[in-house]
Chain length 363, copies 4
């Protein structure tokens, strides 16, 4: 179903070429201020058209709040918001209607919905559906920030270029604030330039690139999450795999754990200035599915954009035959630069939900 969350529910609706895309957020606590400026800023970071290698299509991504907010504060009732779709060239898609793009959801969507779905521009599967997700997540992020919880993400990898990793023990506020202001959120600007070059090169070759995003949440108190079946890892992973093109997630040392020895993977506990801390953070701030008070740290892997300019073998379902598809138009060679803010805000949504869930632990 198109709803996620336990105490805080997000429902997403809309198709790429329909009149709007939008969302309903239910379960927001009443009286929280809605920082529209911050939300707009985050949405702009997701919107296409900022980079030279990007598609010409210009999505405005201006949201309109339809309910649940009065005088700039949440009412506690469901917040519905829409983003109007403008400037779609639906005709571009007409000729490819029955030609399934490999690596996309064209074929699987066709099977699931029996061909009744609007497949133009990817329809309900479009990456554009991440716009309402960023809207909801940015709102959650601004509410958490007032509680001293800060979530930020950077581009960890694009193709073979790697950015510096986050310090697992924590991050200077000046760093996360700067990341959000950067047009290309990396810790090492040198790596960032190399990534940009790699993307531009991929574009010239009509090819695309995959990558990875690393996300950190600081200030989450110990005690959020559950052992079964709503571990923080389960909840964050459930959300992250809703972002198109995400094919992997790992927490703390993640897949590196596989080749590690126990003694090198330890997070010793200690009292420090009256607080409990761990002296390392291999576990990415989560033990037994529950936050331990240290920074929460995870990585998501993105596959290369499936729309490439080279001819591709595929099927034409109207004639039940094999065919060759050569996509025209301009396509993003890499969506990772725009994905960092999606990961960051989506994580914020999950964490605000966990904060509310935590309220129920005591009567």
């Amino acid at each position: 179903m198109n709803t996620i969350g336990q105490s805080l529910n997000l429902t997403i609706f809309g198709e790429s070429h329909g009149p709007v895309i939008g969302c309903v957020i239910d379960g927001l606590p009443a009286g929280e201020s809605v920082d529209t400026e911050f939300i707009e800023k985050q949405m702009k970071r997701r919107a296409p058209g900022r980079f030279p290698w990007e598609t010409a299509r210009k999505e405005e991504d201006q949201f309109e709040i339809l309910s649940g907010v009065l005088n700039g504060r949440t009412e506690g009732t469901p917040l519905a918001a829409v983003i109007f779709n403008r400037g779609q060239h639906s005709k571009d898609y007409d000729k490819t209607r029955f030609i399934m793009r490999p690596g996309h959801a064209d074929y699987t969507g066709n099977i699931k919905y029996g061909g009744w779905e609007d497949s133009r521009g990817g329809g309900h599967f479009s990456g554009r559906l991440t716009a309402p997700l960023v809207f909801a997540g940015a709102l959650a992020q601004s509410i958490l920030a007032k509680q001293g919880i800060h979530i930020s993400a950077h581009i960890l990898q694009v193709g073979s270029v790697l950015d510096t990793s986050y310090d697992p023990m924590g991050m200077d506020p000046s760093v996360w604030n700067k990341l959000r202001e950067k047009d290309f959120p990396v810790l090492s600007d040198e790596a960032g330039q190399a990534m940009k070059d790699a993307i531009a090169q991929a574009k010239r070759k009509k090819d695309s690139l995959g990558g990875a995003v690393e996300c950190m949440a600081e200030g989450v108190p110990a005690g959020w999450g559950s052992p079964f079946f709503d571990s923080l890892e389960s909840s964050l992973a459930h959300m992250m795999f809703s972002i198109p093109a995400v094919k992997g997630i790992s927490f703390g040392d993640g897949f590196d754990f596989a080749s590690m020895r126990g003694k090198d993977a330890m997070d010793p506990l200690a009292y420090q200035d009256g607080r409990v801390v761990t002296e390392a953070n291999h576990n990415g701030g989560i033990n037994g599915g529950i936050s331990n008070g240290m920074p929460i740290l995870f990585r998501t892997a993105f596959k290369p954009v499936a729309s490439i300019g080279m001819p591709q073998q595929t099927i034409d379902i109207s004639e039940h035959k094999n065919t060759v598809l050569t996509l025209e138009g301009r396509h993003d060679p890499c969506i990772v630069p725009r994905a960092a803010v999606v990961v960051e805000t989506a994580a914020a949504f999950v964490l605000l939900d966990a904060a509310l869930e935590r309220k129920r632990d005591r009567l």
Copy 2:
């Protein structure tokens, strides 16, 4: 909450040192035969005590079905089952009650439950809680097998030793059948021996090892899953992160995608003998969150066992002071060999749920 699933619900209960651990499975279709022999076999593969490096504790893991089954068939009503806890030495844990084991859920559980939880043997956080999960999953697995859907897992990695990867395009039935009969489920027995040696060596050093499990589901038809927010990847990941020590999951090429180019990551579509297939399977059988009819393929990373014999810095919460903990008794140096069947059966549960969810797509 301790329940997972959409159409098929699994609720797990029990603590390591309580009278029983168990589960309730709700939403099972009526009239399915319950293959107790197969379930027992799978549960034995999870039970400790089979390997020379394992702990002395012998868990019988005999389940008793309390409801929902009549004359060997599901009734359609909730199936409750319990596994009796026997031979726990609760006294062993008394002295460590207030000393939090690093890398475990002792501290986070204490914060969440306010110290009211039974922490003996890990309590509700114990790896032993995977026994009812294997019970439920093995039942699902046997039901799916009758539909031609076969799920199997092998040890992909232990420390620095790697097993051969699955062929992403599919697997010979003789292979998966053999895996389930092996005491150490690997594709390459040579790699298996090297893994065993590495584990024995870690044990001698009072250390532990991490690893990875690779899982494949063959025969899943196209059309299962959803784009938002219950993609097959979301559902499988949600489940996998409920298995203690899992810290990463990836589908298809997973984190390798990050460094790949689009043209090398393509899964061209083709009609082949009247069926739609992909000619490669980088995506692990899932596009847009929905199965495409090809084998579903994913990997899970396990962190090294946190209980090691070396002295560890930690805290004593009864006296609010730092202390050093040296765990006595024998502890598994690596849980990955026993984890393969947990991954495999847990995946089966998620897939049977997806099969039932799929029924609702049409009136």
Copy 3:
């Protein structure tokens, strides 16, 4: 939370004086035609301004579908729809903002939402929120009609005037079709006239009247529903108590059962023309929470409209003092005539959900 349903989810959002009210329907099967003409007709039956005794405010109740429908067919993706709010006179409510109207949700909403809620016109509690409910329900009703399932409701009671009861054994199609065409849906037009007179009289006295609606669903096959905890009665009641002013629901003989003897309450079973029928229908078509193939029959009680023209004792929360409120403006003396279509469509929504749930009973 503001979502209802198992396989079919309805989320309602909006406030009486916000820009829109609306809903998202998730889980609709793909390929169902959307009978907008029928939906509009049903929505007009709910809209105010049709009767001489009604308020002057004219609500257009024109809906706009934002997603999930392509070429007049459901896509299987979430259907979002909005109804624009027009002509609200928010100023009328300014002076009463802190004066809690007795019998309304002003005070309870203020406590729940901490005063952050938009209370103008009842805000999110407004009876106007039944408009998206009728939208969703009318769509469900038209889908069920194509399956041979027909749902209709009539005004059973207004004040002391009673309409004829439905024949519990079933209803002539000509009857239900006529009911939907009537401006005042009653089986006996004589009773209808007496009801109208009673309402007009109540209005003259600045008073209001309660009433009851009776609903019947014909053609529901045996086997829908569950014993625990989603009996058809539970699901229908859950929905009905979401309709403002509903204070009671009963199935079949309902509260009359309390004074009955077993022998007079029997529904003998019989084969009749190859079908199983009951020879009476005291149980209203439901046994053990599951439909038995006979007409489903239930009644809902509505309390008198709380907004009356007489002075009422109440509180002013801005000054923490008792006060007297005399409501100005015109208020409906009885909402039951408009409520019949709300009951009928809301029941349709629940039954379409049950139809989809039923699909999961077999693999």
Copy 4:
């Protein structure tokens, strides 16, 4: 599905003639003391065999807690409990296996579960399944009592005999305490005696009687519940219709509202000793689906027991023919005296859930 609740989940399992019936309660706050004595007392009030007119079968209804409780306190982890089935005479049911008892769930269960269900003694549909419900509810009731919230129920009606109604404005603690001690919970012992006589007479005639139970919850603070779709009325009704034989529920003046005028149905608000009260309680303590701080008051109607000693027309599904069934053995002529405690405890479960839900209204 067999689970109910939002923040607090109850899953019920078992069949009348299986080894056990039981439940899992998930979401209990940690550290609450488990008053086993009170729970046992409440369960005894539900158990059969206390009245001269009851069946000979003696159900012990002794529960065993399997998890989630340590040293008499909830751990916060799932609480599983079972009640062993003893002394069932399954053979009694063999001959009637294919003969559907009218008014029971035999036929509808057979359709739903395809004949795979255990129908002996009503199987999963048995009234005996209310035992785990009383267990869970009595635990909730004792937790709420410590918060000053008291829930009690009395027999309002048996056949044509009516007990005094509760004072809608509230109840003396000495009254509710006495009700729980009475073997026959009525406010007027005279009415109670007349009810007993009516039941004994019905029994002599091999007939049965319906009735009604009235329930009151005192001390519930204002602010619990929601407008859509989880109004307190919706949640309580959802639960009540899970109790076998319940066919109606009403809140406050309920169906009497239908014939009332607005001026007679008013609950004026007032400050009284610094608290907000209503000066009447026609609404039964709920406005807009949310508690208003006044006593919550509702009534449930029970149909007469369907098992009567007279010959009944019905069907034999093994031979697809009509037949006559004459039930042998002793059957309860009226279950209302035992149902009062079921209503009372089930209501407590819903209210504890609402208490936990209320925690999420603020961050």
